[in-house]
Amino acid sequence: MKLKTALLATALSSAAFAAQAAELTVMSWGGAYEASQIEAYNKPFAAMKGVTVNMVAADNPGTPIAAMVEANNVTIDVADVELSDAVRLCDEGKLEVIDHAALPAGVDGTPAADDFVAGALASECAVANIVWSTVVSYDSSKVTGVTSIADFFDTAKFPGKRGLRKSAKANLEMALMADGVPAAEVYSLLETEEGVARAFAKLDTIKADVVWWEAGAQPPQLLADGEVVMTTGYNGRIFNAAIGEGKPFTILWDGQIMDFDLFVIPKGAPNKDLAMEYVAFATDSQRLADQAKYISYGPARKSSAPLVGLYQDGKTEMAPHMPTSPEALKNALTNDFEFWADRDVELSEKFNAWLLK
């Protein structure tokens, strides 16, 4: 009886496999971000190759694909993951190596290796598509005159609750920057006990006023509900609420923490070759610029910047809303994936212990 079931399951799954042959399955993060990828990448790719491109949503695609590879049951061809996950999964041999030399040159002729912004090709298993950032944003109908990251921690001058992500990542960096540490020194300081203590001490000053969030959709919601007056959040989500839905939210670029999202191909992907083509196609200059039309995440290629046009409403100029705009980059930190790969366990525990106190 057991044998029969096993046979049946195999038959079914191989049938499913056969049906999938002309399809490509991409896993991304859902919401407005995923929608922008469908418009900018999937539809033109499907039209060009005559294949079906399926989009699957996950909370954090890095997790399910790791589990799939571990279980030898990979159904995803391409996944959109964070840099730290890309590096980690690559180190663990869970990703296919992507030949960076096969990536097309920029529209202006710059070779891909030079065209991508620094760090975008840091992992040999991944190609970055966007730059996103964790930023402070506030409800400008309730607070005005916020100019620096230090103001976020100043509840005397700007009374009201603060929203923070319930994790060590980003909070510790922002705390140090608010405490006057220049962006360039943040991670080296965090390597030390004193640096970590200093960051937690800064967080202590607002601990009683914090509403902790976990999902990216929460910060704009917390602002809209009036639960907080200022919150950290992902710049694209805040932009969509502010420009897309007309909410009175303003982004403070000072002290932003930039990060990449990257395309990776899980080891054992059913349509590996097609996946390679998809990654090369989706990360060319024009496609990256197209995506920025739908959401305010910056293209990972320099040559895409001049191609970025108006928001889909047809009137908002996208360039100033990008985390990579000159204005936004004045005091910005780039997430150090290696630091977090090393310290995540310890700092998460410290952070959790600190929360409990």
């Binding site: 041999g93 914090v210 902790w212 410290k350 929360l355 409990l356």
Partner: protein, 414 residues
């Protein structure tokens, strides 16, 4: 002697005949439960076994660093790593880097010694160009390799079966001397969370009992027509998804929420003195009590339904006040329901994580949130398994205590 054996009419031994006769019935009974048995085995016993085994095994290091493992085997604990040890290390690092398993290895050591992940990955990249003497070459690449604790962690990880994750789950860390000791205060998380989980779940259970008892009593006493209507209200929460219910509580309880707005509107609260009913333990307790209340009411109701009113009347006629009657006659008879409801609610509460994650804030989250964190975010499944196993053990211990105090057969679920 054989004459004493009872025989059937045709001379076969009675026992054998009986066995044969009942064998068919037994086989049929077995066939009937077989699907469920298989189901339980596949979906429950096997995963729990896997969880338990995962909580004590991790071969990420031992499987990928064979030479170092061999050196540890050949040299007793306390031996200073010599040139041979470093040579073995370099061989393994080169192989691991080529095989792309170095990340796995690094992750494993990083569980014990924070900050060693990049030590492995970066040295792994350089290792293929290293030449003897390897000790100097490795230490030149990164002097952290000279740390005792790194070697202690590697020795520790060279066995696939390990207590590391239970040590971590009980807030114990590897010291520089290579032994486990209580973690520094700012790294202790889990025991506090376990304690909080049990206290909070206990509070939720108590609250469910206090709120559910009168309702169940009313349901059991009212005429069927009205009680079935009320029962629908009790069961209503079951018909909406957990997420919807939890977010409804958020709308109600948040600072700018309906409840606070109403209290401010009625002048009971100052506008700047709004109550923090959410993103703390209060929020967790309120939302979980609501969600788990039916699990208390249903067993209570089913027990109360079977208690005839004549007991109450008998007690009253014997001279007991209504309070004495309630305390000495009614409540003792509802104990099977209280026990079943209490255990059900408590165990469900201990395992809840979606609700505390959404409304619990910093102080209202529970151990299951940590388990989920290690399952989904940190991907340290072994630690998650160790925490889950401890939770399971605690729940089983609770059953045992309950059995001791009340008796498990004295539990009535419906």
């Amino acid at each position: 002697m054989s004459d004493t054996i009872l025989r059937t009419a045709d001379g076969k031994p009675l026992k054998a005949a009986l066995m044969r006769a009942s064998a068919v019935a037994r086989r049929r009974a077995f066939m009937l439960v077989l699907p469920l048995l298989a189901f339980v085995l596949i979906t429950f016993v096997v995963p729990i076994g896997q969880m338990l085994s995962r909580s004590v095994t991790n071969d990420a290091f031992s499987a990928n660093m064979p030479s170092v493992v061999a050196w540890f085997a050949a040299n007793p604990e306390g031996t200073e790593p010599d040139e041979a040890a470093y040579a073995a290390l370099v061989v393994d690092l080169v192989n691991a880097a080529n095989a792309r398993t170095i990340g796995t290895v690094a992750t494993r050591i990083n569980y014990d010694v924070s900050g060693t992940r990049s030590l492995f990955t970066s040295t792994g990249r350089k290792a293929k160009n290293m030449e003897a003497p390897f000790k100097d070459a490795v230490l030149a690449a990164d002097e952290e390799w000279g740390d005792k604790v790194v070697w202690a962690a590697m020795r520790n990880a060279s066995a696939a079966v390990t207590t590391t994750f239970y040590q971590a789950a009980t807030d114990r860390k590897l010291t520089d001397e290579g032994v486990y000791a209580k973690a520094p205060e700012d790294l202790r998380v889990y025991l506090t969370l376990f304690w909080r989980t049990f206290v909070l779940s206990g509070a939720v259970t108590l609250l469910c009992l206090i709120l559910g008892f009168p309702v169940a009593h009313l349901l059991a006493r009212l005429p069927m027509r009205i009680s079935s209507l009320l029962m629908i209200l009790v069961l209503l929460p079951f018909w909406t998804s957990l997420l919807v219910r939890t977010t409804s509580w958020m709308v109600l309880l948040q600072e700018q929420g309906i409840l606070n707005n109403m209290l401010v509107y009625l002048g009971i609260l100052e506008d700047n003195g709004r109550l923090a009913l959410m993103y703390n333990q209060t929020g967790t307790i309120i939302a979980m009590t609501h969600i788990l209340l039916p699990f208390m009411i249903l067993p209570l109701y089913s027990v109360m339904k079977t208690i005839p009113i004549t007991y109450t009347r008998a007690a009253r006629s014997l001279g007991a006040t209504s309070w004495t009657t309630f305390r000495r006659i009614y409540v003792p008879q509802t104990i099977p329901g209280i026990g079943a409801g209490g255990i059900l609610v408590f165990i469900l509460a201990v395992g809840y994580y979606i609700t505390p994650a959404l409304v619990g804030g910093a102080t209202g989250t529970l151990i299951s949130n940590q388990i989920a964190f290690h399952m989904q975010d940190s991907l340290n499944w072994s630690l998650a398994a160790a925490l889950a196993a401890m939770l399971l053990a605690a729940v089983l211990a609770l059953y045992w205590v309950y059995d001791r105090l009340v008796g498990i057969d004295n539990m009535k679920l419906g």
